[in-house]
């Protein structure tokens, strides 16, 4: 038993129970979970994320310290690796895009294999990379897909995305690939933390908590979509969300229990976001080992707090050793 995952698990369970039963119990609570908490959460999220980003940006970048992961640009006949060792701003842009969109650094994880005939080969340690990639992309698609609840009329592009995401519907009506992928990937990331001793050893409550929340969000979302008894009235849900967006909040008929669990957990995630490691979303943009150009000898970087320091000058040095220098035939400034 490990308090690091038991505790967040219990917290998420309690959150589930409270939001489910209270919202079933009285309309006042529906208002709390459907309007008050979401508004507070969004406020916290926006204010918190802004504050954190400003706070990071406020700190100086005294030196350019990119991690160089490929051949430098030096002599004209040596081909530089523009994206793993970007000497130009464009190169940095591509590097950042590769990091953010396809997790370039995680992808670098190769392992060496020696086959029977002593031929060596390399293979990727792909599971973490793949799991993380599926997780983040599924999250993004799910998020974008949910914009249909906040727009009227729903833009064409969203409809297209949704039909793409739902191409499996031929077999399973209403099944959205992204939701299932999100749940699966989050579960994988959780199991990984439990079953790989190295990762388990380093994991903290703050690693499990968001995972449980996201699993809870995905699960509640899927439940109210597919389980007949829990199915909610989508039109009513949209009425509520549009009410939030247009600042005319209402609690329509036809949404209950599981819907409020979903909304509550999303709110919790939003509110928790700025205080947690989830800020890696913003942090990666500010990571000096990735977002700086590597032409550090070509273009001077200025340190805003550079200050003069005490040095041992040549004159002091010569004063220390003048006689010996003269005797050894070394040139001196003052005979």
């Amino acid at each position: 038993m490990n308090v690091h995952y038991i505790f967040p698990f219990l917290v998420v369970c309690v959150m589930f129970l409270i939001s489910y039963f209270l919202s079933e119990a009285a309309t006042g609570f529906k208002y709390l979970f459907g309007v008050v908490i979401p508004y507070l959460a969004i406020l916290t999220f926006v204010a918190g994320v802004t504050y954190r980003m400003m706070n990071w940006a406020k700190s100086a970048v005294p030196f350019r310290i990119p991690t160089t992961a490929g051949q430098q640009k030096s002599l004209p006949w040596i081909k530089p690796n523009q994206f793993d060792n970007p000497s130009s701003k464009f190169g940095v842009l591509v590097r950042m895009l590769l990091e953010i969109l396809v997790f370039r650094s995680l992808f670098r994880n190769t392992k060496f294999r020696m086959s029977e005939d002593a031929q060596s080969s390399y293979e990727m340690e792909k599971w973490l990379w793949l799991g993380a990639l599926v997780f983040h992309w599924a999250f993004l698609v799910t998020l974008v897909r949910h914009l249909r609840f906040f727009t009227e009329p729903v833009p064409q592009a969203l409809m297209l995305l949704e039909s793409l995401d739902g191409f499996m519907q031929v077999m399973l009506p209403g099944l959205m690939l992204s939701g299932v992928a999100l749940l699966a990937a989050a579960t994988y990331l959780f199991l990984r933390r439990i079953f790989l001793p190295q990762v388990k050893y380093i994991s903290l409550s703050s690693d499990y908590f968001p995972l449980f929340l996201i699993i809870g969000i995905a699960a509640s979302g899927i439940l109210m979509r597919y389980v007949p008894d829990l199915k909610i009235d989508v039109t009513a849900a949209k009425e509520l969300s549009m009410g939030l967006v247009t600042l005319r909040p209402t609690i329509p008929e036809g949404v209950d229990g599981i819907f409020f669990v979903h909304v509550f957990m999303v709110s919790a995630l939003l509110a928790y976001f700025p205080f947690s490691k989830l800020m890696h979303l913003g942090g990666i943009f500010l990571s000096p080992t990735r977002n700086t150009t590597t032409n550090t000898r070509e273009a001077r970087h200025v340190n805003p707090w550079n200050y003069p320091v005490k040095v041992h000058t040549y004159d002091e040095y010569e004063d220390d050793f003048r006689e010996k220098m003269i005797e050894a035939g070394l040139p001196v400034e003052k005979e």
Binding site: K111, F112, R113, Q198
Partner: protein, 179 residues
């Protein structure tokens, strides 16, 4: 079925178990890495250990050739001699093979011949253990000599500098021969 055949049959399982006991001398979190990371360059400790144990196990059934045993044993001991182990901890794994073997061939032990063979096998393991002592000591001696050489070099440098300050150095120590 003779003892050799039984062991040949269970070779994979025995070596695995043996490997497991070695790996368990490391912290739990590390053990999994050592066991599962198959890349010989990303995980030299695990892969070297496994290769050595396989070789050692095979050598139990051949003519015990000291050179050959050293070939298998040295890489493992060389690693354990610098890691966070006391000498007994570093070498215990060799003798643990006895326990593993005994469990495997428990039934066969009733047979008198098998028991004699088993005794022989255990003596062979003891011989491997004795060779391991030699290797371990040699490794430690190398470490100590590397360490003192380093001290020696530093001292000599200081000495040289001191001499230069006095400025009477007709004979300069030949630094090249020191390292």
């Amino acid at each position: 079925m003779g003892l050799a055949e039984i062991l040949e049959q269970h070779k994979g399982a025995i070596v695995n178990k043996w490997f497991q006991t070695v790996i368990e001398t490391y912290p739990q979190d590390t053990a999994r890495f050592l066991k599962n990371r198959k890349d010989q360059f990303a995980n030299p400790v695990g892969s070297t250990t496994l290769r050595g144990l396989q070789g050692l196990f095979d050598s139990l059934f051949t003519d015990l050739n000291r050179e050959q045993i050293i070939g298998y044993l040295d890489p493992i001991i060389r690693i354990r001699a610098v890691q966070d182990f006391t000498p007994s901890q570093a070498l215990a794994f060799i003798f643990e093979l006895k326990t593993i073997l005994r469990k495997r061939i428990n039934q066969a032990l009733d047979d008198k011949n098998a028991r004699r063979a088993c005794d022989q096998l255990e003596s062979r393991i003891d011989i491997i253990g004795l060779i391991a002592f030699d290797i371990y000591m040699q490794c430690r001696e190398t470490i100590f000599s590397l360490r003192t050489n380093d001290e020696h070099r530093k001292t000599l440098q200081t000495f040289k500098r001191a001499k230069l300050i006095v400025e009477d150095s007709d004979v300069q120590p030949n630094l090249k021969s020191v390292t």
